[in-house]
Amino acid sequence: QTVTVEVLDHLEHLALVDFRDSEGIERLQKAIQFADQLHEVNTDGIEPMDSVLEDRCLYLRDDDVTEGNCTKELMKNAREKVEEYFVAPPGNIPLPKLEEQDTFLQGS
C-alpha cells in the first residue's frame, strides 16, 4: 500500500528535511517494500537486541569535573552569536501547514 500524503507531510515535519521530488517519495516506497521482508522471519519469543554488549555493565565514571571551560573554542564554529549565546530566530512558530506551503507534496 502506498504512503498517504498526510504521512509524508508528517515525516517532513518530523525530520525537517524534504522529499524534494517524486524520486524522493519513490525511494521511501522502495525502502518500505524492502523492509517488509522482515515479516517473513519468525521472531516469536525473541527479545529485541539493543546492543551487542548487553551482557556487560555500562561504564560509569566518577562524578568529577575533569574538563570544560571551552566556551570560546565552541563558539568559534557558530555563525550567529552574541557574547556567549547562540542566536536563533524566534521559536514557537510552527511550520506552515501543507495547504499553505509551496512544496512538492502539494501537487501529489
Binding site: 528535511v17 525511494r27 522482515l38 527479545e47 537486541m49 560509569l60 568559534k76 555563525r79 547562540f86
Partner: protein
C-alpha cells in the same frame, strides 16, 4: 621508502637513521600531490604534518622515539574530529567546520608521534559503498592506473575516453583505502558500520580490519549507527594492522561503549600455524551475484587451509539473507536520530532563513544534505513512527538477535574463524556503478560484510589475488568477539600463502629512489 611496511621496514629505517621523519613526510606529501587525480584526500595538512615530522626528528636524534608509530605518516577519514583541522564528512553540512577537539583514536596516534598527512575522502556522512557520493567528488581506485590493470584492459582506439575506464575505490572509506594503496601513507583510519572499511580494502588491495565493537573508542567519530559503528584500520599488511590496533584499542572513559577489560597489545607469530584451527565456510555467503572468479578463489582458499591441516567445515548462518534488511531498518532509524543534531545553530552550515527556528532548521537541513542522506533520514523516521515502531524497528532488533545467535551457535560448536568473500565482485568501473542508486548499491555490496557489524564481531579483509582484469580481490575472515589475535594470526598466515602482488604505479616509481629499492619486495613478491 614509501613502499615499505611499517613494522619491519620503515620503523627500522627511521631508528637507524637511514631516512629522517621529515624526508619521509615530504616524500608522502609530494606523492599525494602527484596522485591528486585519485581524489583520495579532502584536506592535506601539509604544514602541521611537517611540524609533527620535525618534532619526531628531534626525538629520534635524542634517541627517544615514542614508539613504532613515531614519524610515520598516517591519514584519517574525514568523519573523525581533528582539532584545528576542517572535518567535513564530505558534506555541505559541515563545510568549514573546524573541529575543536581530536577524536580519541586521532589523539592516540598523535600521542605516539604519528604524522597526520591529511583527511581522506568518503561517501557523504559515510553512507555508501563506492565513495562516489561525497560533495568533493568520487575517489578513484589507484589500481585503475596500475600497470596490471592497464595491461589487461582491452585495447581501445585513441579517440575513446580513457578517463571513463577508472574503477571505484569502494566505500565508504574509499579515500583511506586509496591513500594506503597508493603509498601516500602507511596506515589510515576508516570507519566500519556495514563494511565501510573492508569493502574498499578489498577493491584497493589492502588490509582492512574491523575490530570488535567496544574495543576501540568511538569518541570523536561522527556517528552513523551508534550500535554498530567502529573505527576501522587500513594498512598494507596484517602485521601493520596488528600494530595500529595495539596503539588504538582499550577502554576510553569518554566512550561508555568501550569495554573495561584491559587490552594487551600483541605481536603476531613470525610463522603462524593454522593446523590446529577449525575454519568455517558459511554456505549462505554463496550469495546471488557472487562472481565465479571470487567463488573459485574462496574455494581455493578453503583448500589451502585444508592442506595446512586445519579442519575446514561448511557451516550455516540461516538468517544471513535477512541481515541486510535488518541493517537497512536499524541503520536508517539510528541515522534519523543521529542526523538530528545538524540544525545549523552551533556549527556547520546555516541557512539565511530566519523567520522562525523551525523554518531555519528545515531550510538548513534541506540545503546541507544530499539525496542519500535525506532519503535515509526520512525512511528512518518512517520506521520509528508510533504505528510502525513495533512492526519495523523492534522487529528488526529481534532479527538482529537471531543473526547474532547464528554466529554464537557456529562459534560455540568449535569453529574458530569463518572464511567468506568480502565483496560480490571486483571493483566496478565508475560509469557502471552510478547506473544504480546508492541504496540499491549498498544493499548489494554490503551483503557479505554487514552481518559482522550486526553481531559486533571482528572481521578483516585480506587481499587474495588479482582478477582476470588485473584488479584486486580480497577474502574476509570473521572471528570471535575480542579474539583479534587469533583472527589476525589466521589472516597473516593466509597473507603469506597468497603473496598478493604489489601495485605497480608510474607515479610511485618516479618518486621512489634510494633506500628501499632492494627491500621493497620483502613482504610481497
Amino acid at each position: 621508502a614509501v613502499k615499505g611496511t611499517l613494522r619491519f621496514q620503515v620503523s627500522a629505517a627511521l631508528r637507524e637513521g637511514q631516512i629522517t621523519p621529515t624526508e619521509l613526510c615530504q616524500r608522502c606529501l609530494s606523492l599525494i600531490k602527484s596522485t591528486k587525480f585519485l581524489n583520495a584526500y579532502i584536506t592535506v595538512t601539509e604544514e602541521t604534518a611537517l611540524k609533527q615530522a620535525e618534532e619526531s626528528e628531534k626525538r629520534f636524534r635524542r634517541g627517544q622515539p615514542l614508539g613504532v608509530l613515531d614519524g610515520i605518516p598516517v591519514a584519517v577519514k574525514d568523519n573523525f574530529n581533528t582539532a584545528g583541522i576542517e572535518t567535513t564528512c564530505a558534506s555541505n553540512r559541515l563545510k568549514g567546520y573546524i573541529s575543536p577537539y581530536n577524536a580519541t583514536v586521532v589523539q592516540k596516534l598523535l600521542d605516539q608521534g604519528a604524522v597526520l598527512v591529511g583527511k581522506t575522502n568518503l561517501d557523504e556522512f559515510a553512507m555508501g559503498s563506492g565513495s562516489t557520493d561525497g560533495v568533493f567528488g568520487p575517489v578513484r581506485n589507484p589500481w585503475s592506473y596500475s600497470r596490471q590493470y592497464k595491461e589487461k584492459s582491452a585495447p581501445k582506439s585513441h579517440s575513446e575516453d580513457k578517463e571513463s575506464e577508472w574503477v571505484i575505490a569502494g566505500g565508504s572509506s574509499g579515500g583511506s583505502a586509496a591513500a594506503v594503496s597508493s603509498f601516500t601513507c602507511f596506515a589510515a583510519l576508516g570507519s566500519d558500520t556495514g563494511g565501510s572499511t573492508r569493502n574498499p580494502a578489498a577493491h584497493c588491495g589492502v588490509v582492512g580490519l574491523k575490530p570488535t565493537y567496544g574495543l576501540i573508542s568511538r569518541h570523536g567519530l561522527i556517528p552513523l549507527v551508534n550500535s554498530m559503528d567502529v573505527p576501522g584500520i587500513l594498512t598494507r599488511c596484517v602485521d601493520d594492522a596488528a600494530l595500529v590496533l595495539g596503539s588504538l584499542a582499550g577502554h576510553d572513559p569518554k566512550d561508555s561503549t568501550t569495554i573495561q577489560d584491559k587490552f594487551k597489545p600483541f605481536e603476531l607469530p613470525n610463522l603462524p600455524d593454522v593446523s590446529k584451527l577449525s575454519i568455517g565456510i558459511p554456505k549462505e555467503y554463496h550469495a546471488p551475484g557472487l562472481s565465479s572468479e571470487i567463488l573459485a578463489l574462496w574455494s581455493k582458499a578453503a583448500d589451502l587451509f585444508k592442506s595446512a591441516g586445519a579442519k575446514v567445515t561448511e557451516v550455516s548462518l540461516p538468517h544471513t539473507r535477512y541481515s541486510i534488511v535488518c541493517y537497512h531498518v536499524l541503520c536508517t532509524a539510528e541515522v534519523a536520530s543521529n542526523m538530528a543534531r545538524f540544525d545549523g545553530l552551533e556549527y556547520g552550515h546555516r541557512s539565511d532563513m530566519n523567520k522562525s527556528t523551525e523554518s531555519m532548521y528545515a531550510a538548513t537541513r534541506r540545503e546541507g544534505f544530499n539525496a542519500v542522506v535525506r532519503g535515509r533520514i526520512l525512511s528512518g523516521n518512517y520506521f520509528l513512527l508510533k504505528q510502525n515502531y513495533e512492526n519495523y524497528f523492534v522487529k528488526a532488533q529481534k532479527v538482529r538477535r537471531l543473526i547474532a545467535q547464528d554466529f554464537g551457535k557456529v562459534f560455540g560448536s568449535g569453529v574458530d574463524v569463518l572464511l567468506t568473500p568480502t565483496t560480490l565482485s571486483q571493483a566496478a568501473p565508475y560509469t557502471e556503478f552510478i547506473k544504480e542508486d546508492n541504496r540499491t548499491r549498498s544493499a548489494q555490496d554490503d551483503i557479505l560484510t554487514q552481518a559482522a557489524n550486526m553481531a559486533g564481531l571482528p572481521a578483516i579483509n585480506v587481499p587474495a589475488a588479482l582478477s582476470e582484469r588485473g584488479l584486486p580481490v580480497g577474502l574476509q575472515f570473521i572471528g570471535r568477539s575480542f579474539q583479534e589475535k587469533q583472527l589476525l594470526t589466521v589472516a597473516k598466515w593466509f597473507e603469506k600463502e597468497v603473496k598478493f602482488p604489489m601495485i605497480q604505479l608510474e607515479e610511485v616509481k618516479r618518486h621512489d629512489h634510494g633506500v628501499f629499492q632492494h627491500q621493497k619486495s620483502a613482504s610481497f613478491s
